[in-house]
Amino acid sequence: MCVVIAILEVKNLSKTFRASRLGGKAHRAVENVSFAIPAGQTYGLMGESGCGKSTIGRMIVRLIPATKGQVFFRGADLLAIKQRAFRPYRRRIQMLFQHPSTSLNPRMTVLDSLREPFLLHDLPGRDCMDDRIREHIESFGLQSELLERRTSQVSGGQIQRIVLARIMLLEPEFIVLDEPTSMLDVSVQAQMMFLLQELQERSGVSYLLISHDLDLIRRCSHRIGIMKEGRLVEQNETEALFGAPKQAYTQELIYNFECMKN
């Protein structure tokens, strides 16, 4: 087995949500989760809704603080970095969200939304950003007449592409994909995942793919982690995991999916 360099390594990550009111129970959303993602690969995180997989994604991107644990990105512990010093990482680590309907500000046009990376970061070609945007979105299968539309008049599949195009303007090294296609139709899902794989081959970006669709995860990930109630119950290379699932829960999940297909 060859040694691959991990771009991201999660160690003993935990998150406990405080009780929302007095007397309520604290909720342990994530408990001691550890995994590593090799550069240029996709790690699939699979679990039922409410198992804490999205919480992990949000902690990595530092949208919510972690209770315990470390996240190493190219050797640097992301969770230990001060707010101010974290800013450069905001370019290198990005996140794609589940619901297209709220992924873009409804009061803005598509063009305004795509300009945001230029306003927030010192990207090359800032002076002629509109031209750069026009050129850039073509490779995402988006036409330039879309740019003038309000985001509320664009279909879900196109919104996910727009958001992805916007993320790619920042040239990130790592993207958390939080159920990127669960709200899309199968045909649009196939297009989206194809686009994501193409981007990976071209730019070497790594993904953490969070999904509850085992078929999708199997198709698109190099390595898979199975989560249940905040814990990572099993992880392995994709084919090894499907070939010989060790945990009863994994077997049950696979069985449930096979059920649907027969």
Binding site: R58, R91, Q94, S103, L104, N105, M108, E116, Q153, V163
Partner: protein, 272 residues
């Protein structure tokens, strides 16, 4: 039909604002010029709407009245908005113990009936335009901030806020670019109704003698003045009352239309 009413209302509102601003140029006479010999005169070429019990030109008093009413209404609403918006934004966006504290204060303020509150504050500060403004702002910011907070709480959960943060947007950037534009339109409706009720509050306080003081011309004072004479000459009551009603009606129609229109927009977007 709704659209027609909206434009009528808008025209009336703009007319009131215009009249208020250019009162000195438009008013045919000095609103405070007393002429006891000509009291309670019927409309004539000289006094288009006649005169009141002191012989002052009714039309000119109405025109100057709209100045004070409209000015106070807009200014007070503006101040309320500024205070309520800031507090509501902080409370809704940042959450945590600040939010809990602010909501506690808001609850107390909201528990007090607003008219009684205004009267109490005016009693404490003494009548006058400044205390009237303070009283109105103090008694109504809480509701504003509550609405703003609820809107912000809804928007805070949206992916585009998370997305902007993930791209490195600061809190200020996110509030300015993503939060404010999305709460402003629903707020517009609230602002409009607020202006209407402020005019009524001003008139009511002036009527009670707690707001503006005679001889200043204000619709509330005019109604107060008229209460002794309207049995003989209904005109003196009718004129300021009509203005008051017209102003509030137009504001409410505008608010109504805006609300319907905004909802419609949201509906269409949802179907598509």
């Amino acid at each position: 039909m709704k659209k027609f009413l909206f434009y009528c209302a808008l025209t009336i509102l703009i007319a009131f604002i215009f009249i208020g601003i250019f009162a000195d140029l438009i008013a045919p006479m000095d609103p405070d010029a007393i002429n006891m010999a000509n009291s309670l005169a019927s409309p004539s070429a000289e006094h288009l709407l006649g005169t009141d019990h002191l012989g002052r030109d009714l039309l000119s008093r109405l025109i100057y009245g709209s100045r004070s009413s409209v000015f106070i209404a807009f200014f007070a609403t503006g101040c309320t908005l500024l205070l309520g918006l800031t507090i509501g934004l902080v409370s809704g966006y940042f959450g945590g113990w600040e939010d809990q504290l602010i909501q506690g204060v808001v609850n107390i303020f909201q528990g007090i009936p607003s008219t009684a509150f205004v009267v109490a504050v005016l009693g404490l500060l003494g009548p006058g335009i400044k205390s009237l403004l303070i009283a109105i702002v103090v008694s109504s910011w809480a509701r504003f901030s509550r609405v703003v907070r609820n809107q912000v709480l809804g928007i805070r959960e949206m992916h585009y806020i998370e997305g902007a943060r993930a791209m490195g947007g600061s809190n200020l950037y996110i509030i300015r670019r993503h939060v404010l534009p999305n709460i402003l339109l629903p707020l517009l409706v609230l602002i409009a109704t607020r202006i209407g009720s402020t005019v009524l509050t001003v008139a009511a306080m002036s009527f009670l003698g707690l707001g503006l003081r005679a001889p200043a011309s204000d619709w509330g004072i005019m109604i107060n003045d008229a209460k002794l004479y309207f049995v003989n000459d209904f005109r003196v009551l009718l004129a300021p009352a009509t203005c008051l009603t017209l102003f509030c009606l137009s504001i409410n129609l505008i608010a109504d239309y805006l609300r319907d229109h905004l909802d419609n927009d949201a509906d269409t977007a949802r179907i598509l």
